[in-house]
């Protein structure tokens, strides 16, 4: 009897895994422990893929964990009178449980390619809206200024305070001065490492105004945790006005560099 009780106890412990596992995921969103708000155009395709995989793996998780519980419960030695079943395998079953997951995984692989290509491969034909340069432990920003070209005398320099227009494509040219960083905008579903020696294009379209975090997501040294920036999305008119204001501030505090100096610095 004691042995049978032990079997029941251990089986139920293993049943707790799928029960509590599903419960954790079900409760978490209610406490805001969930995907942060998404304000980007492409983010919906990432989030829906996340939910799709969550549903798919959730089903497999529950089915396999419940089977494990059920076998522990049913085939407990304390309950069995006869011998265990002498069976060495099943060719049919092996074929079935190879082909079905293979087809599912292959479908998943092909299904997501488009979303990936949208975010990382189909770069809009435009010149950079802003250059973002990672440096221990800050985000250095450079706007092209009135002439729309980076690397000219009227460039606007800022730190950590990124502003971008909404409802239009923006192209960020991402660089690093020193070590690896990663440009992570949780609310825009964007992440891209900044690599010394590389210029990496990052593009997206925000659909909603607001102020959000810029997080460094690649270890960049002891101050990694504080490499924080803010991004403000605003309508085009407000964005242009902000640019003008910042440009005036920059002109007031420092003489505009000679064009020749800037060219030499490039």
């Amino acid at each position: 009897m004691g042995k049978r009780l032990a079997g029941i106890f251990w089986s139920l412990l293993f049943l707790a895994v799928p029960v509590l596992g599903v419960a954790t995921f079900a409760i978490a969103p209610a406490y805001d422990y969930w995907l942060p708000k998404d304000v980007s155009e492409h983010g919906a395709s990432i989030d829906s893929l996340f939910y799709f995989i969550l549903a798919l793996t959730g089903v497999v998780f529950v089915v396999t964990e419940v089977l494990l519980f059920w076998f522990m419960w049913k085939y407990d030695a304390a309950k069995q009178k006869g011998e265990a079943t002498y069976i060495q395998g099943s060719h049919t079953l092996e074929v079935v449980w190879t082909i079905i997951p293979a087809a599912t995984l292959l479908f998943l692989a092909i299904y997501q390619m488009n979303a990936w290509a949208d975010v990382k491969m189909r770069r809009p034909a435009m010149s950079p809206t802003v250059e973002v340069v990672g440096r221990q432990f800050e985000w250095r920003l450079r706007y092209p200024g009135r002439d729309g070209t980076l690397g000219t005398a009227d460039d606007l320099f800022l730190v950590n305070d990124l502003h971008l227009p909404i409802d239009e494509d923006v192209l960020v040219q991402l660089k690093s001065m020193d070590v690896l960083h990663s440009f992570f905008l949780p609310n825009v579903r964007i992440k891209q490492d900044a690599v010394p020696g590389m210029k990496i294009p990052v593009w997206f379209k925000a659909r909603e105004a607001g102020e959000f975090d810029i997080v460094c997501a690649e270890l960049c040294g002891w101050g990694h945790y504080k490499m924080k920036g803010r991004v403000t999305f605003e309508p085009r008119a407000a964005f242009d006005a902000w640019l003008e204001r910042k440009y005036a501030e920059q002109g007031a505090t420092q003489p505009p560099p000679e064009a020749a100096d800037v060219a030499a610095a490039e």
Binding site: G7, F14, V17, L20, G21, T24, Y33, W34, L35, I46, L49, I53, L54, T57, T64, E65, L68, F71, Y75, Q80, E83, A84, T85, Y86, I87, Q88, G89, S90, L93, E94, W97, P101, L105, L106, Q112, W116, A117, M121, Q136, D178, V179, L180, F184, P186, K191, D193, A194, V195, G197, M198, F212, A217, E218, L219, G221, W222, H224, Y225, K226, K228
Partner: protein, 608 residues
């Protein structure tokens, strides 16, 4: 290399103490002690040396993890007890110190615990015993493979005390943080020692792997065909092949990084790279090159860190389900499939790295496909339990939890493999959850299953079952409390490796869950006191086990417990595969690999 002659008479008396040489009277004195217990060439002693060393480092790695958890849950608060040892102000942890902690936690756990405990401890102890050999093919290399770990222990251990502290560039040691001493206080001596330690671990692994391959190919007992090998041996064999092919790349990359740091080369630094206003180095290199080389080893290493556990768990499940392994050959092929595909998936660590996104698609497809053999293995484990007669021993509970937890770790991997989803969850706690489910909830639980299972063979005594189950229960509860919640943090995008993330608007509300996880982590480490006490007590005072306490089939259970030098008191001859449990018409419910076929036939005839 030729197999020893087949003799019917015992070559060694039963119960011979480990290390006594064939036919020689025990020699007294220090030199005998040294050659028997310290510089031993006996695979069992070497296996136990690996086991004791790695368990000690497991403790250190666990304590490092607790310190990491403390900072994540309560940033900048005074660290209790040990805070004064490294106190800067009061007992508060500095961000440099925190960065070093997680770097060394991962480095210690991966290079000084998981890899050597699987291949070094269990590979050494089990391979000759399970294939019916008297020792390894190259006993001296084997001894050296253990003693090359000591320089690694020294470099990793001593690096905590050098100026700037131990390595702080993450266990992945990405340039240019790791190559440029100006980039971080610990990127000086600490990082150099880390690289030297890594190289020594590599030498040790390489010495082990050539030995394992040779031994398994050439020294199997008569009748032990490849397809009569237990899954443990198949897993060790394929792991050894993985090691041998992947490791040279890491060693070369390590030397390149050393040379960048010490000789002024620029393999991994681009032109004009200025760190912290220091003078730029030679340049002309590429930080991504290191990532490619590093992951070309370190992704196969992920399988080096799980395949042996899979093999051992497969064997333990059959013993305590009293059933043949379901789908033996598919199990072998899926291990081989994992190993083969394991060489072409490394790029999935680099989806966000700046590598060509088209290449990302290729790696995404191969990564999706590597989930397949893992799925096949899981289904076969479930098939093994189906229709069994399950005995809930401590070892079996750990093996069952391996299956249960591996399902979670396997499925969560699919999220990262999906490149668009990876954009959001890359370098967040989702990946931390994933690899802890594979490596702790998977491998470490598998290792405990193996320790409880083979302890009688190692020491001739069994561990206490009651306290073993208490150990299992608490570890199981606390590990899920610690690691399952990490998935939820990952869904918020909570980044790993941040000393304090709560000043971000997105993450400021996550502290209570992190505190809960830290309480669970403290419980998990504290629980191991039960294990340590049980282990040490049972070594000396546990009940005597006899040769075959679990009624298992494989060859190690025909040898005395513990086996003497030379392992077997008679030459084992193998007549069948390792999983003949509950064969119909046979009186006892297991047929050992050495049971003569006529005995089986006679038993069958008698039953009629």
């Amino acid at each position: 290399m030729t197999p020893p002659p087949v003799t019917a008479t015992p070559a060694v008396e039963h119960g011979t103490v480990v290390g006594h040489a064939h036919g020689h009277a025990p020699k007294a004195g220090l030199s005998h002690f040294l050659s028997t217990y310290v510089f031993s060439k006996d695979h069992k002693v070497i296996g136990l040396q690996f086991l004791f060393s790695t368990l000690l480092w497991f403790l250190i790695g666990g304590l490092l993890a607790l310190a990491v958890r403390w900072q994540v849950a309560w940033p900048w608060s005074d660290v209790p007890v040990i805070g004064k040892l490294f106190a800067q102000e009061g007992g508060q942890m500095s961000p440099e110190f925190y960065t070093m902690l997680f770097t060394m936690h991962a480095s210690v756990m991966i290079f000084l615990v998981i890899i050597p405990i699987l291949a070094g401890a269990f590979g050494n102890f089990l391979i000759p015993l399970m294939i019916g050999a008297d020792d390894m093919a190259f006993p001296t290399l084997n001894m050296l493979s253990y003693w090359f770990m000591w320089p690694a222990f020294f470099f990793f251990g001593a690096s905590f005390f050098v100026e700037g502290g131990a390595a702080s560039g993450g266990w992945t040691s990405y340039p240019t943080l790791s190559t440029n001493p100006a980039s971080s206080p610990a990127s000086g001596m600490g990082q150099t020692m880390w690289l030297l330690g890594l190289t020594m671990v590599g030498v040790s692994s390489m010495l082990g792997s050539v030995n394992y391959m040779t031994t398994i190919i050439l020294m199997r007992a008569p009748g032990m065909t490849m397809f009569r090998l237990p899954m443990t041996i198949w897993a060790m064999f394929i792991t050894a092949i993985l090691q041998a092919f992947a490791l040279p790349v890491l060693t070369a990359a390590g030397f390149m990084q050393l040379s960048d740091r010490m000789l002024g080369t620029g393999f991994f630094s681009p032109e004009g790279n200025v760190v912290n206003n220091a003078i730029a180095g030679a340049g002309g290199g590429q930080p991504l090159l290191w990532q490619h080389l590093f992951w070309f080893y370190s992704h196969p290493a992920v399988y080096i860190m799980i395949l042996p556990a899979m093999g051992m768990v497969s064997d333990i499940l059959t013993v305590f389900a009293r059933k043949p392994l379901f789908g033996y050959r598919p199990m072998v092929y899926s291990i081989a499939g994992i190993a083969g595909l394991g060489f072409i998936v490394w790029g999935h660590h680099m989806f966000m790295s700046g590598m060509n996104p088209a290449l990302g698609i290729t790696f995404m497809v191969s990564t999706m496909m590597i989930a397949l053999p893992s799925a096949v293995k899981t289904f076969n484990w479930l098939g093994t339990l189906w229709g069994g007669k399950i005995q809930f021993t401590t070892s079996m509970l750990f093996a069952l939890s391996f299956v249960s937890m591996f399902i979670i770790g396997g499925l969560s991997g699919i999220f990262m493999a999906a490149t668009p989803v990876d954009i959001f969850i890359h370098d967040t706690y989702f990946i931390v959850a994933h690899f802890h489910y594979v490596l702790f909830a998977g491998t470490a639980m598998g290792v405990w299953a193996a320790i409880y299972f083979w302890f009688p063979k190692m020491f001739g005594r069994t561990m206490n079952e009651f306290w073993g189950k208490v150990h299992f229960f608490l570890t199981f509860i606390f590990l899920n409390g610690t690691f399952f919640t990490m998935h939820i943090l990952g869904a918020v995008g909570f980044p790993r490796r941040l000393a304090d993330a709560y000043h971000y608007e997105t993450f400021h509300h996550l502290q209570p869950m992190n505190a809960f996880m830290t309480y669970c982590a403290i419980g998990m480490v504290a629980t191991q006191v039960i294990f340590a006490a049980n282990f040490i007590y049972s070594m000396f005072w546990g009940p005597l086990a006899g040769r075959n306490p679990w009624n298992a089939n494989t060859l190690e259970w025909t040898a005395p417990s513990p086996p003497g030098h030379g392992n077997f008191d008679y030459q084992p001859i193998v007549h069948r595969g390792p999983y003949e449990y509950s064969v119909p018409g046979v009186e006892k419910d297991h047929l050992m690999q050495t049971d003569p076929p006529n005995a089986a036939a006679a038993a069958a005839a008698a039953a009629h």
